[in-house]
Amino acid sequence: MLTDLSRRVREKIADRFAVRNLLVPSRRREGPAKITVSQVRHAFRNEVVALDDVNIDVHHGEFVCLLGPSGCGKSTLLYALAGLMTPSGGNITVDGVTVERPGPDRVLMFQEPALFPWLTVRQNLTFVLHARGLTRREADERARIFIHRVRLDGFEDALPHQLSGGMRQRVSLARALALDPEVLLMDEPFAALDAQTRSAMHDLLQSIWMRDRKTVVFVTHNVREALVLGDRVIVMAGRPGRVLQDLEVRLVRPRDPDDDNLVALSRQIRDALTRAQRATTPMPGAKEPHDAEVPGPPDRIPSRTPPPVGAGF
């Protein structure tokens, strides 16, 4: 009996350590970074500091999740990466070139599908491919491949409003991938979907990513989503927006959102976020965070400033 107990204690300790080792502070990597964010700060006109001295290096082929409550500046940072807005200080480079305006080397996927409503699924893809200079035949072929990759065969001639929300977001993903961008930027692309569809999208994105190993920067406020998808999870906190932790996720892929280790890690991150929030807010919210959502006061600064209409072209 005593040996049994000691074995159980040992197992428990081992488990603890196992979980610890699955989430470690990410190390500095050798070689030039794909994306360099250095000393970026941004203040809105109402003097809310959205970003304060943010430094991030993203390397080629990394899947990085920016995680944080609303108002922590994660979307602002992503829009700056896309070139849709210019931060008030600091520098962002992709492959050594300073980001100044939006471009197809850094395709941004929005929370909404942003499809052209008057074009069919296939035309939505071929239209942007033509803009990149592909011939009709090349564009058709490429559209076919990517529509197949997001498993929408048979819906090529459907119009966006005839599809479900998840299907539309898949078209949007196919369109972004078909452009073969150097960097794929994603702004909570699955936040508007129901839980089942979202988890199907996670599987799809994981399988596509494992095949292409694109550099991805993915913004989310959902801890589990970040852990399922990311190689690295950069935890951000608001007021002022800053990087709290930069963690490397060492779970094997493909990942299951209900995996025990993943659930334990998500609790760990959530606790860290709650502590950070308590430290910055004079009146800590008494409410316990529910689900896997990041605790964030609802009455805060809006999480994203839409850049002026048509900014950059």
Partner: protein, 208 residues
Amino acid sequence: MAQDGRLWSATTRSLGRLAQGYLLAAAIGVPLGVLTARSNWMKVTFHPLVLGLQALPSICWLPLSILWFGLSEQAIVFVVVMGSLLAITISAEDGVASVDPLLLRASGTLGIRGLRFYAGVLVPGALPGIVTGLKLGWSFAWRALMAGELLFVAGGLGQLLQQGREVLDAAQVMGVMVCIVVIGVVVDQVAFRIVELKVRRRWGLAEA
């Protein structure tokens, strides 16, 4: 009147003028509206001008038109153009302004710029508004044409109407009036309605 071919020739004459004036107005008005919506400079200088001139009934252009073009075909076409141009411009401008800003941002990040952006995103995005403007422009053009023809003798349905009054033939007057109404209704309710519905369905704005 219908038998001796006067009605027929007057109708074709009127419709010919209308087509000239209206197509010209559409060709100028749509690009003008798109540009006004897209450029700040145009918005500041042009927008108040267009809004102000819209308060002017189109027939008030006739005296100026006659001074410029003389008692000619161009004079009446000019009145038709001025009658519908402003409505088309304003609607095109509104149409562009109401294009989903998300689509504009997405176009930027997808690398769509220049002419492709205007022709492939902005104009199709604004098309529901543009079609509404064209429909409105058409009815303005039709009114302007009739007023012009009534005042200034040059053949056409308006003149036929005026002739009816001069020879005290109420039947002719009423006949021509019915004819004007029928043409207006057919174009407005049939041709434009079909196009408008098609666009709205394709754009997902109306149930299929």
